[in-house]
Symmetry: C2
Subunit: 162 residues, 2 copies
């Protein structure tokens, strides 16, 4: 394999504009949160989404145990949440930043003021290299905030304008 | 299943900011192009990306036959290409809009002035509902244009600003 491919791909990915999503999961009463941009819709039949998770990430233990997932689409007000869940803060302390609704039975924590909160039940997984692609069927959708979403492009947070 | 989930998920997806990517593939000398937003990075080890394709889309016949894929990340100048490949134009006529490099053996067509062109070899697939998730390993990456990418949000094209 060409050793230059990974840096070249990283350069290409800097050209992609993306929303920032914080994924949450839980296992044995312990909640996890991680910022992700590798999130996509899959199908409307059935309504489903996917997220790619590094198998070395802390949240992976919950995902590997089959936890439901919450996809929290961050608003323009959520830069601090994004930084905390992107590595700025460790473990359960991440939930001290932002307006989190704590976990309930069968439902990981979610951000009470996210642009969108999508509850997923795992339906299909495929491992590829360092990551697991988790496909989840949608159990519920809420749209708590009318603020524009937080967007990320070229290594920084950006705003969108028509 | 809750019949309201698909429209609710569509509303949530309007909150996602995304780049527009045109996926190309070929089979038996016939090229196909389709605009997509369901595109994500998977891993850097190995460098890989995924795209979700409706199994009723014309391009699916090439993908199902194992074609390599090209991911063309559109620039702010490519609205006409996006509209053509998003359904405005049918079949091979799509390649009349934009600066396309025609297909070669083992290499589908690509946009000569895309922000990024990522050549993928299919590595793993999983079908879920109406769609196929295709994971491809990166064979090459080029970054032809320095223009900002075309972004899509809330049903319209937008620009990004720091």
């Amino acid at each position: 394999m060409d050793n230059d491919l990974a840096p070249a791909l990283k350069s290409a990915l800097r050209n992609l504009v993306r929303s920032v999503v914080v994924v949450t999961a839980q296992v044995d009463g312990q909640p996890f949160a991680m910022a992700a941009t590798a999130v996509s819709e899959v199908s409307m039949d059935p309504p489903s989404m996917l997220v790619c998770i590094n198998r070395n990430a802390a949240i992976f233990q919950a995902i590997d145990a089959g936890s439901d997932l919450m996809l929290n689409v961050l608003s323009a007000d959520h830069e601090a949440v994004s930084r905390a869940c992107g590595g700025g803060v460790r473990g359960g302390e991440r939930f001290a930043i932002g307006h989190w609704q704590e976990a309930a039975e069968g439902r990981p924590p979610f951000l009470r003021d996210a642009c969108a909160v999508i509850h997923l039940q795992q339906a299909n997984v495929v491992d590829h290299g360092s990551h697991r692609v988790v496909i989840g069927d949608v159990l519920s959708v809420t749209l708590p905030s009318a603020l524009p979403p937080l967007a990320y492009f070229d290594g920084r947070y950006v705003q969108v304008a028509a």
